[in-house]
Amino acid sequence: MNQFTYIRPSNQQAAIDAVSKDAQARFIAGGTNLLDLMKSGVIAPEKLVDINRLPLKEIQLNGNILHIGALALNSDVAAHQQVKKNFPLLSQALLAGASQQLRNMATVGGNMMQRTRCGYFYDTAMPCNKRQPGSGCGAIGGINRMHAIFGASDQCIAVHPSDMCIALVALDATVLVSGPKGNRHIPFADFHRLPGNTPDKDNNLSKGELITAVELPTSPYQHHVHYLKVRDRASYAFALVSVAAALDLSNNTIRSARLAMGGVAHKPWRLYEAENALAGKTATEENFRIAANVAVQNAKPHKHNTFKVDLAVNSIIIALKKAATV
């Protein structure tokens, strides 16, 4: 590990200044991913700006908006009464992620900033355009069982590892950001990026911008929801595929639906077309299957992950069935 300096500012502006004015500085919150990356030599920040003293931990329902501070712990959000009652999909997704020990350390903002778990990204002796632009993609033509089937490029086929973010994108969350140029709101679906020709960029934050909160509008998706995570072991494993499904049902008719997938793309993958295919339909397995087939029509699997297409279809159907019958 390289030498680095460490500061712990107690106000937000000082933290933002520290990072925006220093090309080698990085924010650190729970550190559950950043420290891994530093130990693996993937990144070597010269300065760590610990933001844990900033007052960004609150979880609060203000009118129709659930406000979740960026430093709220994954475990606290998952267990929060209002989250469990009004946003159960988020709670389920959080509990499907990592392990209890990690959730106790990991923050909401940090969860969004997780980098891919692609083995080529982590191994500095192998090519990776995300880690070292221009070095090539090890996973294309390599071991790609865990990799993307949607939205990838010939530069990168890595996937975003988060579970929480799959629920947030499904629930139309907004990301609150504060930076050297002031505050802004980013729709959650626009926060993360597809790899394109710049796979080194995971998201649309500018240098020095700090996630301060995530906000969720209250929605009809408070009951008929299900987060399904398919993985190689029962806990503490990244998703082969995951599905966040939410239905607004009236007499078994779907007024509207929200669907997103994890483990399949470089960003939390919202399935808009499948949602449209469900709107106004009866909640039947047949209609779920039609929507699931719509969802995968542009899938582009690689050598080891062709199974993800069928698995995605099946998982969407199961998640919708479970959501419909909760």
Binding site: G41, I143, A234, Y236, F238, F307
Partner: protein, 735 residues
């Protein structure tokens, strides 16, 4: 021997130390002036080191030295004659790279962090050569060395002529031991020819012997401490180049040096279960009697060592069958050397044999348990000897009853519950019940406490606890007053903890030394104690920690009173013990059966094991609690082998892509179902004084087949490539 302590549950004697952090593992030691080491490892898979530039590293803060083949002290035991390429990896010997991750230098600094940082500053240039890491692409290189003999009983390939046959290929991937505790060592040359080590090892004496020959210094000049080991599963059965590298660094720097390798390095520096391809042919009569077994195995090894194990062993004796032939070959690849991993080759072979038995049972339309019973070997068909003890049929019966085997349907896919397909599977396991040679020393103090020493190991099963129980039975002394000390090379000789033989081997030495001590007490009594001086030694009985006159039960005296009366602070005895003639008269094996009930999710291919029943025929069980824990641990390892564990190589680079705990999936608690363990607990009359066979290996051997057979029962799909991940079942589910 009157049983007062064995065949009972007893808490671990060191349990409190372990859970309170009081147990000192190798890396917890801190000799004065100790420095920290980290390894520079090759990112290429075959070739030569062109140049190593250490300037930047040597200028980094706190760095003492960078040791490589350019400046390492010589290892006098390395052969300089290179005509035989199979000499093991001679670390820091020349510029040759045989595998990815091979250490090319060791950096030593005043802190761990500085050593790790300085590793990144060592600049190494390589000349890369073509490498090979894929067994499938290199089968043309398969060979047999002179120790790998083909086996033939009866007719070769007789199975082909049978009315009912099965032929199938089974593959297992590389599995890595991955104990929680990482490999490493602390090395300190107290003088130029006296070496002290804090090691992670399954045998302190074995470390001593290896280093004696490598460094050519007297055995007594090598002190090895290894009191606690944080899991090993076989990876600490030998000295690895990483340890020699540390010893060389310590020699050059003349200070104690500690190395703890990284999790990533555990995949390339401390052994693994070799990937293997097995082809099995089985033939049977219409009524389910085996007529032929053919078992071909090919497994991987390194370029510089031939690692062999008993992959085809079980096929030779497990079932009554007149015609058996087996072959075993190795494919050398640019990988480090494999090593025994729990259940070693037998676990690999049992997956193939016990899967094929299930396949043939289906062809015969026979219950797989009934099929096994029809082919039960009453005597050992390989050695033509009676088994010393074999209660496998009882184990089958118990297991079947406890899992609810009668609920199983022969037709796959018929049972469902909770929207899941339900499958039942079973398999047998077996492993040789060994007894090696060991010595022990016992000291009885005038305060009545007994301390026994032997250079045994405890990698987790609870060695000292079992030995205290055995000594309590042998002497009648309260277990609370007995200590068993292990893990020191200065103690009397004991073999490595491996092959399920510690209780058998060391327990026998403990029994013998307790008997020897009692003889000394009897001698003291008849020569010096007024109550006993009219008696002969043979008139004395030992009971409950007391000497008794056989002729007069009123004459009884506690052991320590003899010492007190004769004003002796202590007496001691040493004894050696080993098996004898019985090992030529009988065939010694432990047996196990594993039953599983599983759920398979039809749409995702996710498998959840719902219930496991494992039954062991392992002779007398010394400690029912630690033995049950050991069986459960074997099941957990078996779940990993069956469902989750695979070290994945990118053959283009020769590097592992999942070399960490997040991506290499050791089972977690949520993967492990209620696991019921039963012991036959009947004494083996011949193996040793306790009547105990081993159980560390049989806890795992066969388990993977019990899962894959259940998967077939649930889905009608036979998965012959481990691990059985969801993608291998998805879309294959029977409708």
């Amino acid at each position: 021997m009157k049983k007062q302590a064995t065949e009972k549950s007893m808490d671990r004697v060191d349990g409190r130390l372990k859970v309170t952090g009081g147990a000192k593992y190798f890396a917890d030691h801190q000799p004065e002036g100790m420095l920290y080491a980290a390894l520079v490892c090759s990112p290429i898979t075959s070739g030569r080191i062109r140049n190593i530039d250490t300037k930047k590293a040597l200028h980094a803060p706190g760095v003492s030295d960078v040791v490589s083949h350019l400046n390492a002290p010589p290892v006098p035991g390395y052969k300089t004659d290179n005509t035989n390429p199979k000499q093991g990896l001679k670390i820091f010997y020349d510029d040759r790279i045989y595998s990815n991750g091979q250490p090319v230098a060791i950096v030593v600094a005043d802190t761990f962090e500085r050593a790790v940082y300085a590793v990144s500053l060592v600049e190494v240039q390589y000349d890369q050569e073509v490498h090979a890491t894929d067994i499938n692409a290199n089968l043309n290189k398969a060979f047999q060395n002179k120790n790998m003999k083909d086996y033939v009983r009866g007719e070769v390939d007789a199975w082909k002529k049978a009315p009912v046959t099965v032929e199938a290929e089974y593959n297992i991937p590389i599995e890595v031991h991955n104990p929680m505790e990482l490999a490493g060592i602390i090395a300190h040359w107290e003088t130029p020819d006296a070496l002290t080590l804090y090691a992670k090892t399954q045998g302190v004496k074995s470390v001593q012997q290896t280093l004696k020959s490598l460094f050519q210094i007297p055995e007594q000049n090598i002190t090895v401490h290894s009191q606690f080991v944080g899991g090993a599963f076989g990876m600490a059965l030998r000295i690895w180049p990483l340890e020699v590298a540390t010893i060389l660094a310590a020699k050059k720097i003349r200070k104690p040096v500690k190395l703890v390798i990284t999790r990533e390095q555990m995949f390339t520096l401390a052994g693994y279960r070799p990937a293997a391809i097995q082809k099995i042919g089985l033939g049977a009569t219409e009524d389910g009697k085996l007529t032929g077994i053919t078992h071909h195995a090919v497994a991987i090894t390194s370029p510089y060592e031939d690692f062999t194990e008993a992959i085809t062993g079980m096929s030779k004796f497990m079932y009554e069958c007149p015609n058996v032939n087996t072959t075993y070959q190795l494919v050398p690849l640019n990988l480090s050397t494999p090593v025994w991993m729990r259940g070693p080759g037998e676990a690999t072979g049992a997956f193939a044999l016990e899967s094929a038995m299930d396949e043939l049972a289906y062809k015969l339309k026979l219950d797989p348990l009934e099929f096994r019973l029809r082919n039960h070997a009453d005597t050992d068909p390989e050695k033509n000897l009676p088994f010393s003890s074999k209660y496998l049929k009882e184990a089958y019966q118990t297991g079947a009853e406890k899992i609810g085997w009668s609920k199983r349907r022969m037709q796959p896919g018929e049972l469902q519950e909770e929207d899941m397909l339900v499958g039942y599977g079973m398999s047998s396991g077996t492993f040789g019940a060994g007894r090696g040679r060991a010595s022990a020393n016992a000291v009885l103090k005038a305060d009545g406490t007994l301390t026994i020493r032997s250079a045994a190991a405890d990698i987790g099963p609870g060695t000292a606890t079992a030995m205290v129980q055995i000594a309590a039975d042998a002497t009648g002394i309260d277990p609370a007053k007995i200590k068993f000390l292990l893990g020191e090379s200065a103690y009397p000789d004991a073999p490595r903890q491996g092959g399920s033989s510690t209780v058998s081997t060391v327990g026998s030495a403990v029994t013998d030394v307790c008997n020897a001590l009692q003889q000394k007490l009897a001698e003291l009594a008849v020569t010096g104690h007024p109550d006993f001086k009219t008696l002969k030694i043979s008139d004395i009985i030992f009971e409950n920690g007391q000497l008794l006159a056989a002729t007069n039960s009123n004459i009884r005296i506690p052991y320590q009173n003899i010492l007190q009366q004769q004003q002796l602070p202590e007496i001691q005895a040493t004894a050696s013990s080993q098996g004898g003639e019985e090992r030529r008269k009988y065939s010694f094996y432990s047996f196990s059966v594993h039953f599983t009930k599983i759920h398979v999710h039809p749409a995702t291919g996710v498998i959840r094991i719902k219930h496991v029943v494992s039954v062991a025929d392992a002779g007398t069980i010394v400690n029912t609690k630690t033995s049950a824990s050991q069986m459960i641990g074997g099941v957990v390892g078996g779940i990993g082998m069956a469902l989750t564990e695979e070290a994945i190589l990118d053959h283009r680079f020769g590097r592992f892509v999942n070399n960490n705990y997040a991506d290499y999936h050791v089972p977690v608690n949520a993967d492990v179902p209620p696991t019921d363990v039963f012991f036959i607990n009947k004494k083996d009359p011949y193996i040793n004084p306790m009547g105990s066979k081993g159980l560390g290996e049989i806890a795992l051997i066969g388990f993977a087949a019990a899962v894959s057979n259940a998967v077939f029962n649930a889905t009608c799909k036979r998965v012959r490539d481990l691990p059985i991940t969801p993608d291998k079942i998805l879309g294959k589910i029977s409708s």
